[in-house]
């Protein structure tokens, strides 16, 4: 498919629409972030965010752009990490003049190679069958890692040392901030490449195959081939993310291609929103942040995570980016102020219901997990006994009243939306 090569016209489109401003801002954000957030933990977290962004965007090449739901994307991520670690060790041993900065390419190549290998079978069909095959492949590779110990290093994995590779500009990548900038540079490059890809004819064909494979076939494209190419490219970028992880942790282990890794990238991508290019970026940042922050605050953070995901699927299937973009035409029409009162009122019942739910979950955790050590607990500095009745009544009331009020306010917001739509219809232009 020769169209794949024509990246330039796509770039022109981005540039002509003031896109350069966005790209410059993005680059500046990457460059300045470590100056704003100096602490070690935030540096570590931002490094993870950069990796998560590449991984989530590569995942969205499948789910959002080509309509393939994968439950095993971590396979290419993990294999990329392993190949990078082994390549780094080989480079160190042979004293080859290769800098660390180039090593993620090895991961990318590994991801690409395995996607070439596994992709042909799995992309024959999309939908449920593809999802099942991806799940089976993930289990297959995951279990094989325990058999092929010489390559995968068994339970403890394979480690490396990133400081022993060739130094460029006196950077030895011992300090986390240097690793951060390496990840940031790769992240920016990958975002640009993946964005450019969506603007090529090939990117459009992916969308066509997602929306209506039959019609794509009628205009002369083989959906299987389009899916295959998208799958392979997605594997490449996942491999790069894996390679960066290997450099970041100086370690590759079996957890990297576990089911939870595949699940996480799905969660992040979907919560961010699959319908817009920037959705997975938001999702990756938010999910990485929550994973690091929530796990400090509560031990059942994964439950909150799952609930958040279900809420997204049920009420906002477009994810965060879908919610944002829904308001773009309204904002352009200058009618955003009409929606604001409703949104402002919505804060109260949502906060109330959320507080009630959190109270229930935390009390249940106290009783279930720590019941043996006593059931007195503290939330926001208020101490109480999780086994006594009043806190449960309070929580139930908060949930009930919050839910009821949310319904009422929801009706108001819906009415406001109707107003806005009617108004934009009479003014013309905005749908």
């Amino acid at each position: 498919m020769s169209e794949t090569a024509s990246v330039l016209p796509g770039m022109k489109v981005a540039a002509s629409r003031g896109g350069w401003l966005i790209w410059t801002l993005l680059a500046a954000a990457f460059a300045l972030a470590p100056l704003l957030f100096r602490s070690g933990t935030s540096l570590t977290m931002m490094s993870l965010m950069g990796i998560a962004i590449i991984f989530a965007l590569s995942y969205n090449m499948l789910l959002g752009q080509t309509g393939m739901l994968s439950f095993g994307h971590a396979v290419y991520f993990g294999l990329g990490a392993y190949f990078t670690v082994h390549a780094m060790n080989a480079v160190i041993e042979a004293r080859l003049p290769v800098p660390v900065a180039a090593m993620p390419l090895v991961g990318g190549a590994a991801g690409l190679g395995f996607a070439l290998l596994f992709g042909w079978v799995s992309t024959k069909r999309s939908g449920t069958a593809f999802a099942m095959i991806s799940l089976g492949l993930a289990e297959l590779v995951g279990s094989s890692s325990l058999i092929l110990r010489s390559f995968f290093g068994g339970e403890e994995g394979v480690s490396t040392n990133r400081t022993k590779l060739l130094r460029l500009f006196d950077w030895n990548f011992g300090a986390q901030v240097q690793v951060y900038y390496l990840i940031a540079a790769w992240c920016l490059l990958c975002i640009a490449l993946m964005y450019a890809l969506t603007r090529t004819p090939f990117g459009r064909m992916c969308n066509a195959v997602r929306d209506n494979p039959e019609r794509a076939q009628f205009v002369g494209y083989d959906p299987h081939r389009v899916r295959y190419i998208a799958f392979v490219l997605s594997g490449f970028f996942a491999g790069i993310a894996g390679g960066l992880t290997a450099i970041n942790f100086e370690l590759a282990n079996a957890a990297l291609f576990g089911a939870s890794q595949s699940g996480n990238v799905l969660l992040a991508t979907f919560i961010g929103g699959v319908g817009h290019f920037f959705g997975p970026i938001l999702g990756a940042i938010l999910v990485t942040f929550l994973q690091n922050m929530l796990s400090d605050v509560t031990e059942v953070w994964q439950l909150y995570f799952g609930l958040m995901f279900i809420a997204t699927v049920m009420y906002a299937p477009g994810g965060i980016s879908g919610l944002i973009m829904m308001h773009r035409p309204v904002w352009r029409a200058g009618a955003l102020s009409r929606l604001m009162p409703g949104y402002g009122m919505m804060v109260v019942p949502v906060a109330l219901a959320a507080a009630g739910a959190i109270l229930v979950i935390e009390m249940a955790t106290q009783i279930g997990v720590h019941g043996a050590q006593g059931t007195t607990m503290k939330l926001l500095g208020i101490g109480f006994d999780a086994r006594s009745v009043p806190p449960w009544l309070v929580a139930g009331a908060m949930l009930g009243v919050g839910g009821l009020l949310a319904r009422l306010v929801g009706r108001r917001i819906a009415a406001a939306w109707d107003d806005v739509r009617a108004m934009s219809l009479t003014h013309g232009g905005v749908a």
Binding site: G67, L69, F71, V121, K124, R125, S126, G127, T128, A129, F130, A131, M132, I133, L135, G136, L137, E139, L140, S143, S144, I147, L148, R149, S150, F151, A259, G263, L266, F270, V300, Q302, L303, F305, G306, L307, F309, I310, V313, M314, P317, I361, A364, T365, G368, V369
Partner: protein, 316 residues
């Protein structure tokens, strides 16, 4: 050798029937609603834990009846208040919903019963060896599991093929609109099928709980194999699900009991691979160690050579 074959066959058929108890519900739900229920194994896990709790309070026999009922009601509620809302957003959204649900159920179970296995025991009435062959005691409880699985299997087929309810269900599989036009409440049929499917998984959980380990990771361990079963058997085919369940049950049970590696088989050849290489790993790995990946290998082979599965008619 004969001992190994007989015991493994019994265990394999038992595991296979247990898989079928779950796969049948999954297949029914899939063929009716087009939803591959990711949380199906979670309902099995719920069955085991709720069964454990009821058994603790009231004994095993009430648990055997009540726990599947509770799980079935939970399943029906999930369909009514969750899936039905998501349905408008398409099948991918439905699959994602059940994926999130599986996640949440596992977390909730960990909160209530903790992360370590619970002590779910075989009821005393069945805690004796049923017979002895070749000096191996075969536990009566396993025969009981076999009997329960077979009777449910028979009842399910009878219900589907011989009763009016079964006819409506079968008609809703292929012609939901026509069935609705004839005055049947199709959403109610959907909800009931989802509930019954979940209850079947719940029964599997209650009877498997004491025999296997009742822990919060049991859904994650079994779930993927369940999908292998329904895909290998052919999405939407009950007969296929039965054959595939038995096939995978036998395959895994036999593989686990064979402690042979390539190195053993070709011991006389004098070939030894260089140490610390992938070839050496492959040379020394035993069939028992490969057992966990066999279902997935089977899945790959089937998908390459017969993408519709053994008995399937539709592609997805």
């Amino acid at each position: 050798m004969a001992e190994l074959i007989i015991i493994s066959t019994l265990n394999g058929v038992l595991f296979g029937l247990l898989l079928f108890l779950m796969a049948s519900g999954l297949t029914l739900i899939f063929s009716m609603m087009g939803v591959l229920n990711f949380a199906h194994a979670s309902f099995y896990m719920m069955g085991a834990f709720i069964g454990f709790q009821i058994a603790k309070w009231a004994g095993f026999w009430p648990a055997l009846i009540l726990a599947p009922l509770v799980v079935g009601l939970a399943g029906a509620a999930v369909e009514r208040f969750g899936l039905r809302t998501v349905h408008a957003h398409g099948h991918v959204a439905e699959l994602l919903f059940t994926f999130g649900l599986a996640f949440v159920i596992e977390e909730v179970i960990q909160i209530i019963w903790g992360k370590s296995p619970v002590d779910f025991r075989v009821p005393r009435a069945l805690d004796f060896p049923a017979f002895t062959i070749f000096s191996t005691n075969y536990p009566a409880y396993k025969l009981f599991m076999l009997a329960v699985s077979i009777s449910i299997f028979v009842a399910l087929f009878w219900l589907l093929k011989r009763t009016r309810v079964g006819m409506i269900v079968q008609a809703s599989l292929t012609h939901p609109k026509m069935v609705a036009h004839l005055g049947h409440n199709v959403p109610l049929v959907f909800m009931s099928v989802f509930g019954v499917g979940s209850a079947l998984a719940g029964i599997a959980g209650v009877i498997a709980g004491p025999a296997l380990v009742t822990q919060a990771s049991m859904a994650a361990l079994l779930g993927p194999i369940l999908f292998v079963v329904v895909v290998v058997g052919g999405l939407g085919s009950l007969q296929g699900a039965l054959i595939a369940s038995l096939l995978i049950g036998l395959l895994q049970t036999f593989a686990v009991s064979v402690n042979l590696s390539l190195a053993d088989i070709f011991a006389g050849s004098g070939f030894t691979p260089a140490p610390k290489t992938i070839l050496e790993d492959l040379w020394r790995v035993t069939i028992a160690q490969v057992a966990p990946i066999l279902p997935y290998l089977l899945l790959m082979i089937i998908l390459i050579f017969k993408p519709t599965g053994l008995f399937g008619t539709r592609e997805s």
